[in-house]
């Protein structure tokens, strides 16, 4: 497993979140989640403009053996989705933190208290390994 990007925040459900500095955030799933699911074959994306609650179901990622909900780490309004994933879901396996992003959302006041730092998420992964 590669090192976690230091500029992201994480959730215990294995999503990551990047603050874009303009009041919006980008969201994806972590390399750990992508590896556990296996080769992804499909991603179900939300509609642009959709309002999502914190913890609400936002997308579905599907491999041949599992389908898993992606939960919104924070509340917000969807402003962009990664359309490339429709034809190329394996981007999530290849570059989970880059081309494999899933959703961009406009958020109000970002409540970071429920999110994890890279160190905290790394500790969670270490525990799961044991």
């Amino acid at each position: 497993m590669n090192e976690l990007p230091g500029d992201l925040l994480y959730t215990s459900d294995h999503e990551w979140l990047r603050r874009e500095g303009d009041g919006s955030v980008t969201i994806g799933i972590t390399e750990h989640a992508a590896t556990a699911l296996g080769d992804l074959v499909y991603v179900e994306l939300p509609e642009i403009g959709q309002e999502v609650e914190s913890g609400g179901e936002m997308a579905v990622v599907e491999s041949v053996k599992a389908a898993s909900d992606v939960y919104a780490p924070v509340a917000g309004s969807v402003t962009a989705v990664n359309e490339e994933l429709a034809d190329d879901p394996e981007r999530i396996n290849a570059e989970p933190y880059g081309d494999g992003w899933i959703v961009r959302m406009e958020v109000g006041n970002l409540d970071e208290s429920a999110l994890m730092s890279p160190d905290a998420y790394q500790r969670l992964l270490d525990e799961l390994d044991d």
Partner: protein, 487 residues
Amino acid sequence: MSELIFEKSRNGRRAFAQAPADAEVTAIPGRFLRTDKPRLPEASELQTVRHFTRLSQKNFSIDTQFYPLGSCTMKYNPRACNALALLPGFTGRHPLGPVSHGQGFMQCMHELQQMLKEVTGMVGVSLTPMAGAQGELAGVAMIKAYHDARGDAERTEIIVPDAAHGTNPATATMCGCKVREIPTGPDGDVDMEALDAVLGPKTAGIMLTNPSTLGVFERHIKDIADRVHAAGGLLYYDGANLNAILGKVRPGDMDFDVIHMNLHKTFSTPHGGGGPGSGAVGVNERLLPFIPVPVVRKTEVGGETVYDWAGEEDFPQTIGRLSGFMGNAGVLLRAYVYMRMVGRDGMERIAEYATLNANYLMARLRDAGFELAFPRRRASHEFIVTLRHEAREVNLTAMDVAKALLDRNFHAPTTYFPLLVPECLLIEPTETESKETLDNFVAAMIEIARAAKEDGVEYKEAPYTMPVRRLDDVKAARELDLRYRPD
């Protein structure tokens, strides 16, 4: 793969014996008529027969292989059941034909209802659900209807153990209920503390399989029933494993309020390569008003027995109809013939020999060094082997064993179910298999494991002897090819 029937097709070739004389269409205006021609095969009768006969030979089946599929009860399907259900008087009967021309059929159905009540200890049976999952839907819908009829509409939670079949939670969702999953204790029984924690004024009911999908009998069933009933909920019995307890204990006596039976398991109707099933439901007094219709009723008219249909007018609170007519009648006839041939004593022997076979196979595999998931428990009619040590130590997974067994001419057991046991094989031999077959299966299992441990043999690319090698599931899902397109 074999050439597709479409690739054997030639313009203008026909199986002429099968088409009626032609006629002219006079009364349909052109705007309703089809504008293109569907590309169906054009083949001779011999080509068609040969094509599908050859295809059939690429299947494993009960008639050709041992099928120890846990939770599926792959027992022998007696030939007479099929032949007698296909008698012309039965196959030719229109579902909307009058009861005057259906007394023979309806008597069979009424007697089947009676026999199913007897083996389950319930007071009402409806034969209409067309598969186990539809029986489940009927059961949960009845539970919902019962609470709603009492003005208890807040009861929307269905409790499901984590070991349950996937259809249980899916069914609860289909009925508009919320699923509360509860864990299993270390010996395979329901965790009673966890049960207490989820029971409450929102509890609609609990769905249980007993013996459970872990292959063990739920010893606290009476206590569970008392607690769920005390909380105002009802109990649903998933009949997937009814084969294990026929004539020994009845769901009705365990205080279940509603059950579905998989006639394609316990009563030996064919699996048919994935259906048709039949998921008759049984209910106690409490749920009788809500039973799906139609059901067959026996009445006396002028000293004569007459069978007729009871419908919405007789059960005004019914959850309704689940099929266009009365369900999978032909499957029900096969189950009826089976039950008549097996009879009272035979029915009791079924659970006995299914259980004997399972416990024998379990003992032999344990003695050969395989780890059991629940070593302190009796097997019911099935049991679980876990390969977690083999997977870690010699990279021999449940999937590998499954594929390696195919090369030894055995169908694989159920793999990776239940989800909570790692690298598991759920093994159900059924009562119709002989000791020699079980011994041969054990020998194959021993050899597969021995070769992995001692000779470093890997099965990652098995099977080798089937019509195809291991298939690329990822490609199948990413590059969907769901129909033939001539290019």
